[in-house]
């Protein structure tokens, strides 16, 4: 059991790298920090792979993959039972996430050596990357919900720092703020969810919470608030936290803006790792949600389904290539959430759970690839907009091929990775909810369409007037692309159904041809439409856009969600809550306090007049006072 103590180094190396590059980085030549960070990450990656290898393919008992806690210390004690511990929990999903996070992070580290070359703040960039990796790893290996929350917040802040990396650009600062505040708002839900959960169960530990047949929820049945049971509240609030991080509708608004960060950051944080934290949270709490709060699971399924459709529709109309990818990420995250939402528990029933994790894995690979590819394109043409691109396949051969692979993978074309995972999700959806299945089916077609719209628009069509001939990226950028392309092709063949399941027992899956063939067909249909419309420069898309009129404009403007949020925050919260409160404080409460002083002063000024200097007034006051006292003593007191 204790054979995994070395896993602590996976966590500690990025932390040390963060401190070293953060504190000393500015004194060195920038490249030193980069190389140091990359080497550190490489070690962590190797260790993760070793861990995964020995965990999944080493010996394990007949009862499936058991959770292992190789390391745990007490961090803070609240009550006798509520203790925050810091530890490492190894179970199938956390080990898988270790691999995903370290892989992508390592690739991004290598890639950034080329991409960020010559940028100011190179050392800062690497130290933030290390901080993020540390936080993300801490999140995935958390042994208890509070540790997860702690790293959850750290992930949020490192995301803030990285989005705002170009801190002199106002739009980047605004995007960073937005990302942080929106997720923070969602985290409030998470926190309250934790409070309720911990109060009901008296523990934070995942091990106790997810133990099959546990009795800690016995007291929960009697608790309810506003007609909804305590566990439903807790899980729904927690899901809000997860939805914030994973940018589920309606908390999705920060993700497209987050593309203001450097592209490698988008690949690491906003495509592959941090945004799946919400999915990971739901997966982590899956037994609790499934058994204790089935209503929440329904919500998760519908939110996931709606988000995937919503984002896919918006993606069709966008021109900024990173935003298209961002909306595509939203859509794919919706898939994962939906899959968890329709999943059952145990064996074949748990197909959705397995599919979700599978898709998480494959998506991480091909979406990171897409982003890094996009980074490579942007590196070449110095623009984010599709209008500025075209015919790039001649100039960027490696990027072109890898990008194509990723597009095929996300469109679910066999034998690329996306096909397998998406297929499993569709099967799971079909078994539980026909409506959601239909939605996902359409989304699959839309995905293929907008991805190939992007692909054709960028690599085909005619050349634009480039300032200088676009050139292929350096090897530091090409190697990660090739590696990820390799993963996008082959990761679909990993035997997930044996490794990562809801009850930790493997089961057999089979490709359901009744689902697979139509899904491939609609993917191909989407590609074909994109081919027709965007392969060559054509006026059809513009005409179509015009004919859709308002609908197109609304979609192009992301259904005005940003504006609504802006209205709510700027106008309502700032102007109608904060401002009156500030005014109230200065002009009512403070004025009241000052008023007390002023009244005292005024009154004393007034009664000062009684000291008129008129001797006879004093004499009268004296006599009258004496008489009054005498009178009262004689007639009142006696």
């Amino acid at each position: 059991m204790t054979g995994y103590t070395y896993t602590i180094f996976i966590i500690l190396i990025p932390l040390v790298m963060f401190l070293v590059t953060g504190l000393l980085g500015m004194k060195w030549k920038p490249i030193v920090s980069g190389i140091l960070g990359t080497i550190g990450m490489g070690i962590a990656w190797t260790l993760s792979l070793i861990t995964a290898g020995s965990y999944f393919f080493g010996t394990h008992g007949a009862e499936g993959f058991q959770a292992i806690i190789p390391f745990e210390i007490k961090w803070l004690q609240f009550t006798e039972t509520l203790i925050i511990k810091m530890g490492i929990l190894l179970d199938p999903i956390s080990v898988m996430m270790l691999v995903v996070v370290t892989t992508i992070s390592f690739m991004v580290h290598i890639y950034s050596l080329g991409y960020m070359k010559g940028e100011g703040g190179f050392a800062r960039f690497y130290s933030f990357l290390s901080l993020f990796t540390f936080a993300m790893l801490g999140l995935v290996i958390a042994t208890n919900i509070f540790q997860m929350y702690i790293f959850w917040e750290l992930v949020g802040v490192s995301s803030f720092l990285l989005i705002g990396f170009y801190y002199q650009k106002p739009s980047a600062v605004a995007a960073a703020k937005k990302a942080f505040i929106v997720t923070r708002f969602a985290d409030l839900g998470f926190l309250i969810g934790i409070l309720i959960l911990s109060f009901v169960t008296g523990t934070f530990d995942f091990a106790k919470l997810t133990e099959p047949g546990t009795t800690i929820f016995a007291s929960a049945a009697s608790m309810s608030f506003m007609g909804i049971s305590a566990m439903t509240w807790a899980m729904t609030l927690m899901f809000i936290g997860g939805a914030g991080k994973s940018a589920m509708f309606p908390l999705h608004i920060w993700l497209p803006d987050a593309m203001e960060g450097p592209t490698p950051v988008s690949a690491l944080i906003h495509a592959a790792t941090m945004v799946v934290a919400g999915v990971f949270l739901v997966a982590r709490m899956f037994p609790v949600i499934h058994f204790q709060a089935p209503a929440t699971q329904e919500i998760i399924a519908y939110v996931g389904g709606f988000t995937s459709l919503f984002a896919a529709v918006i993606a069709i109309t966008q021109y900024d290539i990173k935003r298209i990818l961002a909306f595509s990420t939203l859509s794919q995250l919706g898939y994962m959430m939906l899959s968890l939402g329709v999943s059952g528990y145990g064996g074949e029933e748990g197909l959705g759970y397995m599919a979700s994790m599978f898709h998480l894995f494959t998506h991480a690979m091909f979406k990171a690839l897409l982003f890094l590819g996009a980074g490579s394109i942007i590196h070449a043409v110095h623009s984010n907009l599709m209008q500025d691109m075209g015919g790039l396949r001649k100039y960027l051969p490696i990027t072109h091929i890898t990008f194509l692979i990723a597009c095929l993978a996300i469109s679910g074309i066999p034998p690329f990775a996306g096909f397998f995972s998406k297929d499993e999700i569709l099967v799971a959806a079909l078994e539980h909810n026909k409506l959601l299945f239909a939605v996902e089916y359409i989304v699959a077609g839309l995905t293929a369409f907008y991805m190939f719209r992007l692909y054709f628009g960028v690599f085909w069509g005619k050349d634009q007037h480039y300032h200088h001939t676009p050139h292929e990226s350096p090897m530091t950028m090409a190697i990660p692309l090739m590696f990820l392309a390799f993963m996008s092709i082959f990761s679909g063949f990993l035997p997930f159904h044996n490794l990562i399941t809801s009850d930790k027992m493997g089961f057999e899956t089979h490709t359901d041809l009744m689902v697979a063939i139509p899904s491939v067909l609609i993917g191909v249909l989407g590609i074909a439409m994109a081919w027709i419309l965007y392969k060559k420069e054509s006026v059809v898309p513009a005409k179509m856009a015009k004919s859709w009129g308002i609908l197109y404009t609304a979609t192009y403007n992301k259904f005005y969600f940003d504006e609504i949020y802006l209205f709510v925050t700027r106008k309502i919260i700032f102007n109608y809550i904060s401002r009156p409160i500030a005014w109230f404080d200065r002009h009512i409460i403070d004025a009241f306090m000052v008023g007390i002083g002023l009244v005292t002063e005024k009154v004393s000024y007034q009664i000062k007049g009684m000291q008129s200097g008129q001797l006879q007034h004093y004499a009268f006051a004296f006599v009258a006072g004496t008489l009054a006292i005498a009178l009262s003593m004689i007639y009142l007191l006696m």
Binding site: V623, A624, L627
Partner: protein, 172 residues
């Protein structure tokens, strides 16, 4: 006879004290005050405090009133007539007076005094002189000396206050 004399003196006291505070000619006020003081000394005579009455006559009637008249002459023309008193003050004074008189008189009348039954002490100069300068029981040497110091102090003070100052600010 005695009774009649008492009411005569009382009448003089009350009438002239009232006149002394209401007349509009200041010198007359002083003279009325003199009458009041003399009548009071008459009361003392009736009560057989001859020494007290003599002091009253010489010191009060003779000394203080003369002092007052001098100062009047220093500060006023003989023909000076006062303005009518301020109405507020008039009301204040009359109000306080009425209430006060009513209160005190009702209190006096509702209280029954027990007359002393001890034999009267003859008040001749020997007794007064002995008591005034004795240090034993019923001796008043300390207040007597204090009063003398006070009088000295008052005299000096009066001179200091009233004398002309040498600087320009106090020129008349």
């Amino acid at each position: 006879m005695n009774v009649l004399m008492f009411y005569l003196f009382s009448g003089i006291i009350l009438i002239f004290s009232l006149l002394s505070i209401t007349t509009r000619r200041i010198l007359r006020a002083a003279v009325y005050l003199l009458f009041v003081l003399v009548a009071t000394s008459g009361l003392y005579f009736m009560l057989k405090y001859q020494f007290m009455a003599a002091v009253q006559l010489t010191l009060y009637a003779g000394g203080i009133v003369v002092l007052i008249i001098f100062s009047i002459l220093l500060t006023h023309h003989i023909t000076h007539r006062f303005k009518h008193p301020n109405l507020t003050k008039l009301l204040m004074g009359i109000g306080a007076t009425t209430v006060g008189i009513g209160l005190v008189i009702t209190t006096i009348l509702s209280h029954s005094f027990k007359a002393g039954t001890a034999p009267e002490l003859p008040v001749d100069m020997t007794v007064i002189g002995n008591q005034l300068l004795s240090t034993g029981k019923n001796g008043y040497i300390l207040p007597f000396e204090l009063i003398s110091i006070l009088l000295l102090a008052a005299m000096i003070a009066a001179i200091v206050i009233a004398k002309k100052e040498n600087n320009k600010n106090s020129e008349i």
